[in-house]
Amino acid sequence: MRCESNYNQLSKTNKNMRNLTGNKPKEGMRIVSVAVALSMALAIPQHASAATGTLPSVASVDQQNKAVKGHVSDEFGEPMIGVTVKIKGTQTGVVTDINGDFTINMGGKNTLELSYVGYLTMTVQTKNGQAVQVAMKPDTKMMDEVLVIGYGTVKKRDALGAISQVKAEDIKQAPVLNAMEGLSGKIAGLDITRQSGQAGASPTILLRGNRSLTSNCAPLFVIDGVAGGSIDNLNPNDIESIEVLKDASSTAIYGAEGANGVVIVTTRRGVAGKTQVDFNAYVGVNAFPSYPSTLSGQKWIDFVVEGYRASNQYMPEDESDIVYKALRDGLHLTEGAIAAYDNGQWVNWRDEILQTGVQQNYNVSVRGGTEKSQSYVSAGFQQEKGLYRKDKAEAFTFRAGSTYQVNKAVSIGFQSTVAYKNRDRRNSRLSKSLTQLPLGQVWNEDGSLRIYPIDDMNSYVNIMADDVPYAYQHNTKSTSVNIAPFVELKPIKGLSFKSLVNASLSNNRSAEWDGLNTYMELTGSQSPNQRSATYSTGNGWGYSWQNVLNYNFKVGEQHDITLTGVTEYGKSTGESSNMWNEQFDFDESIYYNFTGTDNKETTTKYTESSKMSYALRGAYSLLGRYLLSASVRWDGSSVLDKDHRWHSFPAASVGWRVSDEPFMEQTKSWLDNLKLRIGYGVTGNSNISPYSSLQMVEPSATHITLGDTDMTPYKLTEHVTNPTLSWEKSYNWNYGLDFGFLGGRIDGSLEYYTTDTKDVLYDRPLPTAYGVYNAKTTYKKTSNIARIKNRGLELTLNTRNIVKKDFTWTSTFTFAKNKEELTEINLGNNVSVENLVALNLFLGQPVNTFYGYRKLGIWQQNEENQALCFGNQVGTVKVEVPRLQWDPNYSYETHDDDGNVTGSYTGAYYIPGEVDDDGNQIYYTRDNTYVINANTDRQILGSKTPDWNIGFQNQFTFYNFDLSIMMNMRWGQMINGELLSYVSNTNQPECYDYWTPSNPTNAYPRPIQGYSMTTAQKESMYYVDGSFFKVKNITLGYTFPHNILKKLGMTKLRLYGTITNPVIIAKEHSLLKGMDPESNASDKFPLYKTLVFGVNVSF
């Protein structure tokens, strides 16, 4: 289709050319040369000529059948490599070499067609075998750029959906281990966050807000046309482009799977021409964890002494005495611990536990081919060593694909992927460091770990105990293989039929070993004295078969119609087994020798599901200005009940290219493009497990002997059948405006959308009085009970701020705002509720709402009277109780048991209208303190979902240097940071600005030995505004100039360095000091800064 349009356009320009150059070629040549020279001098593109696609004719030759030589340069006069040069109307073509030169045998023809991605296609007349000089012109408006959409492609100018595209260059710009991380901040409305610093952790992806309560909100990945793949199995270097389909008019073609958006990944393919070898590699270190260290040394002593003073209200003259008093009588430390203090044996646990991580990625690919067959092969290795010992992820990937043209109408080919992953996992024990004693010896003289840092404290176990060899081991290995052969027919012009089978196999195994000396064992938190091991394996296999028929034709000159029909069938099956055993005699065999004497447990499992789909789509374009598209998909799935198996998902959209209207003629000088789009569509979210519609019985997970023989209780499964279960369905309206100004200097789009998701699935707990799965677990019936509305605004702006030969500056700015609202909770039979506190669902609120106690600050010295009415001390956390009011005039006395007055005070809290049995207002005083309680005093605090996101990327080139800076902001979200509430008597994070009489802060409470915070006080500390600004990464690269490369035999060599997460600025910076709000201030695997050096080489 793309070629078609180019051809049409070029025919038009050819006519112009003839008019311009046919009669006076030499003059024309001169004119153009002047223009090129001028444009080079001005270092700006020639907008006017580019806009109309005018082609400079460089040379003309006669029609003799001989080879023609030529040279192709870019708009700056630099030679262009890899430009496709074809004899017009034939399949004969070549590609320019490293010097931008080519030679082609004209075979009696005299018109050449030159094309290159991102440049206008040029047509050149040859003459008499004379050498040809062509200066390519960038297609600044990218109007002919092709977007990959569901089951086809569309020219960007004709696109009607909210679709964003990211090219390989942008993904590769900064090194990432997971391609989606590279997209962070680049696509408005796609919220990508990395929440854990664990090796191999995948980013969390959310498009246009939550639309589901229970099921996964991640978008559907379509890799090379096959839905349901995992981008985690791809090396980012193998990706050619990524398209993100955001609105339902474009995703409805994926029906039941399209609701969370669709990410279409196109991998690199072979191309005709010289064989090209690419090598990409980087190595980097992960360091500077965003995690607070714990008080140690003098700061810790100050803290302990402050805690002792606070609890004893005691200030002795001799300061050295108070230290020992605080340690002995306050913390009850053993003599061994006191000795460690005397000997200055300080420990910084965070730094002991965390090491410097390493990440590396190597990828080599070869691609090339002839006109008839093209191939692509690549192999990659990725490794990430986390900040912890035994936290490691490795991946080997292999991709191969080739296409062979059997004849003019038939081509066949295949794509294949092999991915192998090996991951060592571990538990994070880092949070234990936050309240740990900073004293003792962590290592023995011989470098081995000391289990007990202080000899006479058996309760003080080394946090790194899991690192001892054979203490703990958790490893997962997985292999996946995909083979996708296809046949494609193009029998007549405009008609294509493609049949694709994708077969996939996967194998995984997970094994875990718990030896005798794990941290949990040593601290007595786990069944002690037993070694135990788990070993599970799983196989998955499945296939899908897809047939796509595309027909593009014209009726007259004005009507352009494309029809698409799709059938798809998919089947997937899985088998798994799980073994568990305990009471082993040795550590050294870990999970490879299941000879434990006790509790051999084995389970096996099989699942299967299948689905069938049909889809039809029609696209119509009138005069290229009025666009219409409509589609419908029917999906049937085995996971639904037989009588409710099929659903249809329609969509339609219209577009109007305003800028092409005759009446817009006078705006052409500054307005390149203006297009209005309106789309509507229905999509589904198909996260329903197989067999959900059957009522099943299962053997109980734990057996019973009733004192004698092993017996197997048969229980009803936790999920009770729901025959009417159906998919969640999203009804989406999308209003879009595409614009381009100033000859490609500014282009972008604005989107407004509303999504109404009905029948949202929820695991509805069944009333317990009619049965429970067990005492701790209710039965659940997956039901379509809720409704969620999302609406939002997205802006994408691409600007070319400075375009000079040796200096360019381009920016991409994205803004997204989404409002999410739960609008209905229907328990069934039209029973609705306002909120379900236990399940954290509140009508009118976003899905991830925080409901809890609000912290107001710290009780200050002048608030002692108020604090004591809650039974709180000065210096502890002040929690808001909205329903309480303060009456400053109320006066009261306190009494002892004998009725003697012990004090007289004024001021008390009361709840208006709360009276005792005699009708008198009840007051809360020092004698009658108010107890904060969960039923009445919790409130809606905020939401995890940000109000808006901004991504701002700047790319600079300066001579051969390139610089890219990616920044993003997430604003208005709340986090519940576990790191924010580690207040203890023993120790706490160093960054806590704690209250003392001389430091009346509102940040963190005073350490008071022997005082433990109330639940309300503790919980209120978790919630904090998590808004932040971040420089995600800065990359500086250098590309070697051609003349040097030529000597090295390379076509490209670029060296670069990247720093990730260099700057983090949190709105609540005083509370979030040293933490990363992107990880929700989690106390587990911290995020870190990464410093990476890499190389991109092409031969």
């Binding site: 004295n529 037993q530 099943m696 004192g707 004698d708 429970v772 701790k776």
Partner: protein, 655 residues
């Protein structure tokens, strides 16, 4: 750039034709596949209830599933909270302490209280499974032989027993709430909940238990399965408990008491108590570790598998013990009691401690009492388990110790050899120090046989402070570790000790620390008795007080229990007279016999003692300062209220 144009040459035509035909086979296969491509799924791993339950194995598995939730009620803290706490026997560290909701009826007892929900769920879980079993018992047997299954009646009788048992707990805790008789497998989701009356509950309970008594065998192969005697015992308890519904002296009250008596007599006539002899009382024998798994007095137990851990929640059983243990971590640890030792367990918190009423009014607070039951039920001599236990001179003095004895305290460490694991067949290899003579019995489990091996002494009789000061171990009687004057922080007799150094000290209930089956310092795989014979003796005795009949026999039964609690040589000292055959004495006897065994709250409720006046008497739980009408029942769990449409109408039971 590879659009194909049809050319006119013959060769091109042929190719064109081929290219059209080539996909045809594919298309034909495709059409065939598309029509036959079923979107069905094969299901191997999951089992349809209609396939499983009508089979013999499936039905047996279903009846066994009825027992599963019993394990959430015993050997766990949830059941203790509702069944044993909030009574006259136990207290904790303060009004708002951990578990203050149920121990002290504080304001946090509401619909969101977690333990209330767990017990509600466990009980209704039992009921629902029993309903399913009862439903499928009526479905024709599809055993391969095709013959009628005569064992099915006896099997389903187990479900009838458990349903009666669970409903009894439901009605006692929540009053007239949901009386569910349908199977969740058939009924599915219920939108609106309906209440039943307490009488309706009891009618169902009694008819279920009668069915069970008539159809259950007298013995079962598995000791955890219920028998005819379990059913009769529970039936007698149900009859007695039902008397609380009727006015004192009314005909119904007497009638149900008489039924309780008669039913209890059937059990008493058929089962034997352990006989006291000159060296061991019957009670001591009952609690011997070797009798734990094979016990003639038990009528209904939670049978725990200590060999393979085939229990609900696997080895995580018997956590009960840690909640009744003295918190060793602070005071006792200074004197060498190992906080990680197995014998005295790991106290998670000093959750529950015996009241002065239990220690000194129920039990005889003298050293030479003939009643062995305090000794059978409590640790009060704690032996050293730590290798070293440095204690500073100032700390030594702060416990009221004679400072001149400081250096004469026991050596800082013993030579510790061997491991008690093998000898006692314990699981694992924890910190189980024992004496270096190699012998491994319960008696030397820690360091009992060593001179000076005692680290802490907390009897239920008062100790002289001067005597205490001269002991090398930590010694405190109730007069030291409790407030017997009224000058402690609660200003109440029986409150916390004035001297905070002694507040963590107490005797620890050891009924759930059967040494032979300890699994860790937290867990224990002993069997837990739910109904035992002495309870039925006392049930019968109590019934005679209410009915006014058979009082001679009633007194005999009471004295039989008391004689069972003393050496045969002391039997005469135990007898009481007809004057003692009254409710107050009987409640004390039940405390001596059954404290900690999860009947106390029901006992107080039945005898009308659940009120502020009784509970706040000196010596009882000093932290119960409120007890209102609503506290006679438990809050309906919020979780359940959230799940039904008519929550407002159903109500919270006043919470």
């Amino acid at each position: 750039m590879n659009t194909i144009y049809i050319k006119n040459s013959m060769k091109d035509r042929l190719l064109w034709l081929l290219s059209i035909l080539a996909p045809l086979p594919l298309g034909v296969v495709g059409v065939d596949l598309l029509t036959s491509c079923s979107i069905d799924e094969t299901n191997y791993s999951s089992l349809d209830q209609e396939i499983v339950y009508p089979t013999e194995a499936g039905f047996n598995g279903l009846v066994e599933a009825c027992y599963e939730n019993v394990y959430y009620l015993y050997g766990k803290m949830d059941g203790i909270d509702l069944m044993e706490q909030g009574t006259d026997l136990w207290m904790n560290g303060g009004r708002n302490d951990s578990h203050g909701e149920l121990t002290n009826y504080n304001e946090n007892l509401n619909t969101s209280t977690g333990v209330v929900r767990v017990v509600w769920n466990a009980l209704y879980g039992i009921v629902a499974y029993c309903n399913t079993a009862i439903y499928y018992a009526a479905v024709p047997n599809v055993s391969p032989s095709g013959k009628a299954d005569s064992t099915r009646t006896a099997k389903v009788a187990e479900a009838y027993f458990l349903r009666g048992f669970a409903n009894w707990h439901i009605v006692e805790n929540w009053g007239g709430v949901v009386l569910n008789t349908t199977s969740v497998a058939q009924a599915g989701a219920v939108e609106k909940a309906v209440r039943a009356t307490e009488e309706q509950f009891y009618d169902k309970i009694i008819s279920d238990l009668k069915f069970a008594a008539e159809n259950l065998p007298e013995t079962q192969g598995d000791r955890g399965r219920v028998t005819k005697w379990s059913a009769l015992a529970m039936l007698s308890k149900a009859y007695l408990q039902r008397t609380r519904l009727y006015a004192d002296g009314s005909a119904e009250k007497k009638q149900y008491a008489e039924l309780a008596y008669e039913t209890a007599r059937q059990v008493i006539g058929a089962k034997q108590l352990y006989q006291s002899d000159a060296t061991q009382s019957g009670s001591t024998k009952y609690w011997l570790p070797e009798n734990n798994k094979q016990n003639q007095e038990n009528l209904f137990i939670e049978a725990v598998d200590h060999v393979n851990g085939y229990n609900p929640e696997w080895w995580n059983r018997g956590r009960t013990r840690q909640y009744y243990q003295m918190a060793i971590g602070s005071a006792a640890q200074n004197f060498g009691i190992a906080s990680d030792g197995w014998r005295y367990g790991r106290a998670n918190a000093s959750v529950w401690r015996p009241t002065l009423y239990l220690l000194q009014e129920c039990f005889d607070p003298t050293e030479d009492t003939p009643d062995t039951r305090f000794n059978d039920s409590f640790y009060y001599k704690y032996y050293i388990g730590s290798k070293s236990f440095p204690i500073s001179k100032s700390t030594w003095a702060s416990y009221g110790k004679d400072v001149s004895l400081y250096n004469t305290r026991r050596p800082a460490s013993y030579t510790i050899t061997g491991n008690v694991k093998t000898a006692l067949e314990l699981r694992g290899t924890g910190i189980n120090y024992y004496a270096d003579d190699g012998s491994a019995t319960d008696a030397i489990f820690e360091m009992e046989d060593k001179a000076d091996a005692m680290g802490c002494f907390t009897p239920n009789w008062d100790l002289d402070s001067a005597w205490c000061a001269q002991q090398k171990f930590l010694a405190a009687g109730p007069n030291q570790y409790m407030d017997k004057v009224g000058d402690g922080p609660t200003k109440k007799i029986g409150g916390l000790a004035k001297n905070s150094n002694f507040r963590s000290l107490m005797p620890s209930l050891k009924k759930f620390s059967c040494v032979k089956y300890l699994h860790s310092n937290q867990e224990c795989e002993q069997d837990i008795a739910i109904i035992r014979l002495t309870d039925i003796y006392l049930t019968a005795a109590e019934a005679t007080i209410i009915s006014g009949q058979h009082q001679t026999e009633g007194l005999q039964l009471l004295n039989a229990v008391r004689r069972h609690a003393a050496l045969s040589t002391d039997a005469d000292k135990m007898d009481v007279t007809a004057a003692d055959l009254n409710i107050d004495f009987l409640l004390k006897e039940r405390a001596r016999e059954l404290c900690g065994e999860q009947w106390r709250w029901y006992d107080l409720k039945r005898t009308g003692r659940l009120n502020l006046q009784y509970l706040s008497e000196d010596g009882k739980n000093p932290f119960i300062t409120i007890f209102q009408q609503r506290h006679l029942v438990r809050p309906v769990p919020q979780e359940f209220l959230d799940q039904i449409a008519n929550a407002d109408e159903f109500g919270t039971n006043g919470y």
